[in-house]
């Protein structure tokens, strides 16, 4: 069944469907991510975290969300 009110986006290499007019902030909240501990890239451009509520996601957007892990 095709859902007309959904768009497909890619987050960290995985395709997911979200509602129309879904903001980047909505996505971060949906994923329950601590905003202070991550950085976000939208279509290879770094996003200013203060502006995430103003960024509305579009179909085909590619989002990368990264954090720090153990490393040498």
């Amino acid at each position: 069944m095709r859902k007309k009110n959904k768009i497909k986006i890619t987050v960290n290499g995985k395709q997911i469907a979200v509602n129309l007019k879904f903001s980047l902030k909505n996505l971060i909240d949906k994923l329950k991510l601590p905003i202070k501990k991550v950085a976000i890239e939208l279509n290879r451009e770094i996003v200013n975290k203060k502006r995430i509520s103003k960024i509305i996601l579009k179909s085909g957007d590619k989002i990368e969300i990264v954090n720090f892990i153990g490393g040498g």
């Binding site: 995985k14 994923l31 501990k37 950085a39 990368e64 990264v66 720090f68 040498g72």
Partner: protein, 258 residues
């Protein structure tokens, strides 16, 4: 350490000359415990995708408080300048980190740095306001070029990353030491505490250790050994060693000998 002997990188003062990596530990609580015992106040960290499927996975920041320990984001796993720049720009975005460790690898087997990509990245990152600590080969000419490009610290390898082979080229390290006032930190190849002592006795400003601690049979004991090794080596260097002599020199005076 005395107040006069300060360890300063990128205009920041640090109390320990031992920098430790946070990779390869059994779990995060072991990692945090080893760091505490090591006395390090800088730890290297890597930038990776957040696990969006399993969000129960613990976060590094929950175990190691970036307010208490300085995070040094690295570019582990990057093989091009483009990848390294992307990684460090993201690291800065997480929480304003400007002091970073650049590591652009050139070969998957020996993990040697790609010097051309490293130099290119150092120039760009410096212009963007980063304080760049640079993983490099123990090549004095390259070290000079990186310094001229604006590096905040020169971080030559002692041996391949994770090899534990110890210091392979003391001569080159001594030459690099003699030509630069920048912090000189051994970045890779340390296997045991004596390697760290030797590095410090050569006049290095610090040592970065990950595998030798994380993969030791008893990581916490090794963390402590490395802590003391770095302190001992530094003190030994500053104390001014005696001239080596081919022949013996009695420690006791012959005066009053019966």
């Amino acid at each position: 350490m005395s107040k006069k002997d300060q360890f300063i990188v990128g205009k920041k003062k640090f109390s320990s000359r031992l920098i430790v990596g946070t990779g390869k530990y059994k779990n995060m609580s072991d990692c945090a415990k080893a760091i505490k015992i090591s006395g390090a106040d800088i730890v290297t960290v890597a930038v990776r995708r957040v696990n969006i499927i399993d969000k129960s996975k613990p976060l590094l920041m929950d175990y190691i408080d970036p307010k208490k320990i300085t995070y040094l984001p690295n570019t582990a796993g990057c093989f091009t300048s483009e990848e390294a720049l992307r990684t460090l720009r993201l690291a800065r975005e997480i929480g304003g980190w400007k002091l970073v460790k650049l590591e652009v690898l050139g070969d998957k087997k020996n993990l040697f740095p790609d010097t051309i990509e490293t130099l290119k990245s150092t120039e760009i990152l410096t212009k963007e306001g980063f304080n760049v600590m640079v993983y490099c080969n123990d090549d004095p000419l390259m070290a000079k070029r990186l310094e001229n490009a604006g590096a905040s610290a020169i971080m030559p390898l002692a041996a391949p990353i994770g090899s534990g082979l110890g210091i392979q080229n003391k001569i080159n390290l001594r030459i690099i030491r003699s030509q630069t006032k920048l912090p000189l930190i051994i970045d890779a190849g340390i296997g045991q505490a004596s390697d760290a002592v030797v590095a410090m006795e050569l006049g290095c400003d610090g040592v970065l250790i990950n595998t030798a601690i994380a993969k030791a049979k008893i990581p916490f004991e090794m963390a402590e050994a490395m802590k003391f090794a770095v302190i001992a080596g530094r003190k030994s260097f500053l104390s001014g060693r005696i001239q080596p002599n081919l022949f013996g020199s009695a420690s006791t005076s012959n005066k009053g000998l019966i």
